[in-house]
Structures are given as structure tokens and as C-alpha cells.
Amino acid sequence: MRGRDEGRRRPLPVWLLGLIGLAGFVAILELVPRAGLVDERFLPPFSDMLSALAAQAGTAEFWQALLETLRGWAIGLSVAMAAGVVLGILIGGIPLLRAAMTSTIEFLRPIPSVALIPLAVLLFGTDMRSTLLLVVYAAFWQVLVQVLYGVRDVDPVARETARSYRFSPLTQVRTVIWPTALPYVMTGFRLGAAVALILEITGELIIGSPGLGRQIAVAQTSGAVASMYALVIVVGLVGVVVNVIARAGERRSLRWHPSIRTEVP
């Protein structure tokens, strides 16, 4: 297939094509409602969304909501990371514990975190904590499972060597287990970061805890369609930034790692 593209003329650089694609998408968003193909009440033209966004950006409420969302996401993700890494190394490092935990983990993991929404509401009301519960629960499993994979991947020879040199358990973790598990930890971080954002927004949308999700729900119920789209675009951009940061962090902390190319599927 590649042969068909190449050879005839120099292809345009990838970033330029990407820009053209984005511009085309924006143009469609602008033209389709203007041409009356879709009702403007449902899909306002892109320029309307932009002006709604500009109006939003002028209010303190918007920045407050953005801050709340980012804060909830960061706290939830940090808690999930810390718990996932510590428990993962502990469970993965002790075979007896691992054998005992496997079935429980396999059972608890697929339980959808949204099942906890009613419980969270009863316990914490529309407080930020109820969303935090969802975020931590959802992101924790992503991290834990990756760390467990990572610990299992430790070279048995290296582990035995460390043991015959009588490394203390802490040194073993630091010098043998951690370097092997780090790529998996970073994968867990990347997956967890995306899931945490999804649940953060979900919690705000459904439970009504403060943040961008609640602003979207408010805009929807008050019929401010253009603002709603503007907020969705902002949430999407936050998602893009989160992805980019997670991926950059992964690449940065694994620059030294020989197996960076064999990422876990």
C-alpha cells in the first residue's frame, strides 16, 4: 500500500496534513449548520461555539470549574498511583499473597466504577469526595494490574542473584523489581490518567460535584447549546493535554530502558 503513495511526488509533511485535516473538520462544523443540513439549535456553527467559549473564559466560574476538574483528577490519580504501585509490588513480590489475591482482583476489576455512583452519593452527597471515590476506584485497577504484570516480568536470574547477595527486601525492590516494572508502571499511569479523567467528568455530570462536567449539565438543562459545545471542546482539549503529558512522561522516564519498544499490549 505504501508504494501507491510514494514515488510519484513528494508527499506533504505529516504535520501539515494533520493541520489540513483539523481545518477541514472545523470548516465542516461551521458549514453544516450554516447550510441548514443540521438544525442550528442542535449543532451551532463553530464560530458560535468559539464566541461562547470566549464568553465563558471571561467568567471566574469557568476557571474555577476547570481548576476543580484538574484538581480532582490529579488527586484521584495520585492516590490510585500510590496505592496501585505499593500494593502491586507487595502482592507481586510475595507469591503466596499473589496466589491468594488473584481471584479477588479478577473479580473486582471488571466491576464498572459507575456502579458505585449511588453509594458515593449517599455517603458524600454532591461533594467532591464522591467523584474522587469513583476516580480512585477506576484508576487504581489500571495501575495495579500493570504493576503486577511488571513484577512478574522480573528476570528470575537477577532476582536470585540479588537474593544470594542478601540484598534487603527494600534494596531488592529498588534495584531489581522497580527498574523492570517501571515501563509497566508508566503504561499504568497513561491508562489510569485517561480513565481518571473520564470518571472525573462522569462524576461531575451525574452526581453534580463541582467541575466542568457540572457546567456542561447546567448548560444542557438551561438550553445554552453553544456553551455546552464550548465546554465539551474544553474537556476534549484537557483530555488531549493529559494524553500528551502522560505519553511524554512515559518516554522521558524510560529513555534509558532497552525494552521501550516492547510495550505491553
Binding site: 494533520g18 473479580f107 464498572p112 449511588p118 449517599l122 474537556v235 494524553n243
Partner: protein
């Protein structure tokens, strides 16, 4: 740090779950706390809550919407992904837009799609499709792009017809990636199934649970949480069974490569 023996492992497998359930049972046995009713009471209400009409009235419609939405999303994702993955220019053109769509947390699509499709079944299926399609699509693109160069050339040398080339080379080569995307999509699909019903619905599991919570029917609410958990677990077991069947050639290949190296 020796691995525990096989017998011990089989013994340990149910040990912790039994222990956890027992702890829950005992600590709540004579609980008078309104929010944490005794587990015994929850289990007693489970049967009468879900199996006296609710199963067909709420659970099955939810599952049907999930199934339809999920299958449409997988088909759409694989179809578009194969095309986009095979054409370099097309891929470069649409990739930033796709990345943006993937980054939008799917639940915010619920209020948007409500505008277009009301609050009926169409909206819910549409929400599930539009949330599930991105992981499948992007993973398919990755999988198609990373096809083995030698296999690709071999297929060209043997002049495989486009159809068999698609089935035997492209789809099969990309299938591990597609499966990874489909697995992500499944958990997103379950979330969206519940959320679209919590947001606006007249039936479904998510709707019922929220009704219980709002009317402070606490034991019933707990049975709902358990029900959702069971749905999640059963679906993931089914998925894994299908995946291991479809990818048995791949796991075999990986195993042989690993033992060789």
C-alpha cells in the same frame, strides 16, 4: 520466594473471596446503620428485586442496547480503521481529529446526543457507539500500520486477491491490537450504558439503581450495585473466552517465541 505448590494455590484461590464476604456478612450482621444494611438482608432482597419482572423489564433492555451499540462500534471501528491504517495520507489527515475525539471523555456525549436523538433507545445506542468506536478505531489503525513487512511483501508476491489479502493478512495481523481496543471499548460501553440511563431513561439497570437511591431503598440499591458488578464480571469472562479462541494462534506464537528466546 518460591512459588507455592499447585494444591495450595487451588486452596488459596477461593480463600480470600470467602474471607471478604464473611467479613462483610459478620460486620454488618446486626448493623442498624441505615446505609450499610446487613448483607443477609441485601441477599434476601436480591431475588425479589431483580427476578420478579425487573430482569426482563430493565436488565435485558440495557444489555440489548449495550450489545447493539458495541457491535456497531466494533464493526465501524475495524472497517474505518483498516482503511485509515492502509492509506498514509489519509491517516496523516485525520489523525489529529481522531486523537481529539478519543480524548473527549465519552460521558459528555450524553447531553449532546440527547439533543439529536431525544432520550429513547436510539440515543443510548448512539452514545455507546460513539464512545466505544474510538479505542477500536485507533487500535486498528495501529495494528494495520504495524503489519509485518515480510508478510506484506509475501502477500504481494503471491498476488493475493484484495479480499483474501484483507482477511488473511490485514485483519489477522491486526487482530491482537483490535482485541486490545475491543477490550477497552467494552468497559467504556458498560460505563456508557449505565450513565445514559442514569441521565435520562424510563427503564434499564442504571435508571433503576438511581430510583432506588433517590427513594432511599438502600438494600435494593445495594442489590443494584451487585447486579452491575455481576454484569461487568460476566461480560469480561465472555470477552476473554471469545478473545482466547480468536487469538489462540497468536498466544501460541508468542509462547513459542518466548521459549525460543
Amino acid at each position: 520466594m518460591r512459588d507455592p505448590g499447585r494444591g495450595l494455590r487451588i486452596l488459596l484461590l477461593p480463600a480470600l473471596p470467602v474471607l471478604l464476604v464473611a467479613t462483610w456478612w459478620l460486620t454488618t450482621a446486626d448493623s442498624t446503620n441505615f446505609f450499610w444494611p446487613p448483607l443477609e438482608q441485601i441477599l434476601r432482597t436480591f431475588g425479589e428485586t431483580w427476578f420478579t419482572g425487573r430482569f426482563t423489564a430493565d436488565v435485558l433492555p440495557s444489555l440489548a442496547r449495550l450489545l447493539v451499540g458495541y457491535l456497531v462500534a466494533v464493526a465501524l471501528g475495524v472497517g474505518l480503521g483498516t482503511e485509515i491504517g492502509s492509506w498514509r495520507t489519509l491517516r496523516a489527515l485525520v489523525e489529529p481529529v481522531l486523537e481529539f475525539f478519543r480524548a473527549i471523555p465519552a460521558p459528555v456525549l450524553v447531553p449532546i446526543l440527547m439533543l439529536f436523538a431525544g432520550i429513547g433507545n436510539e440515543m443510548k445506542v448512539l452514545v455507546i457507539v460513539s464512545g466505544c468506536v474510538w479505542p477500536v478505531l485507533l487500535n486498528t489503525v495501529e495494528g494495520v500500520r504495524a503489519l509485518d513487512e515480510v508478510l506484506r511483501d509475501t502477500a504481494r508476491c503471491y498476488r493475493l486477491r484484495p479480499r483474501s489479502r484483507l482477511v488473511h493478512l490485514v485483519l489477522r495481523g491486526a487482530s491482537p491490537q483490535i482485541a486490545a481496543g475491543a477490550r477497552q471499548a467494552l468497559s467504556i460501553g458498560i460505563i456508557l450504558m449505565v450513565i445514559s440511563e442514569m441521565f435520562a431513561a424510563s427503564n434499564g439497570v442504571g435508571f433503576t439503581i438511581i430510583q432506588f437511591q433517590r427513594s432511599f431503598a438502600i438494600p435494593q440499591m445495594w442489590t443494584g450495585i451487585i447486579m452491575l458488578g455481576l454484569i461487568g464480571v460476566v461480560l469480561s469472562v465472555i470477552f476473554r473466552a471469545v478473545e482466547s479462541r480468536a487469538l489462540s494462534w497468536y498466544t501460541g506464537l508468542r509462547m513459542s517465541q518466548r521459549t525460543k528466546g
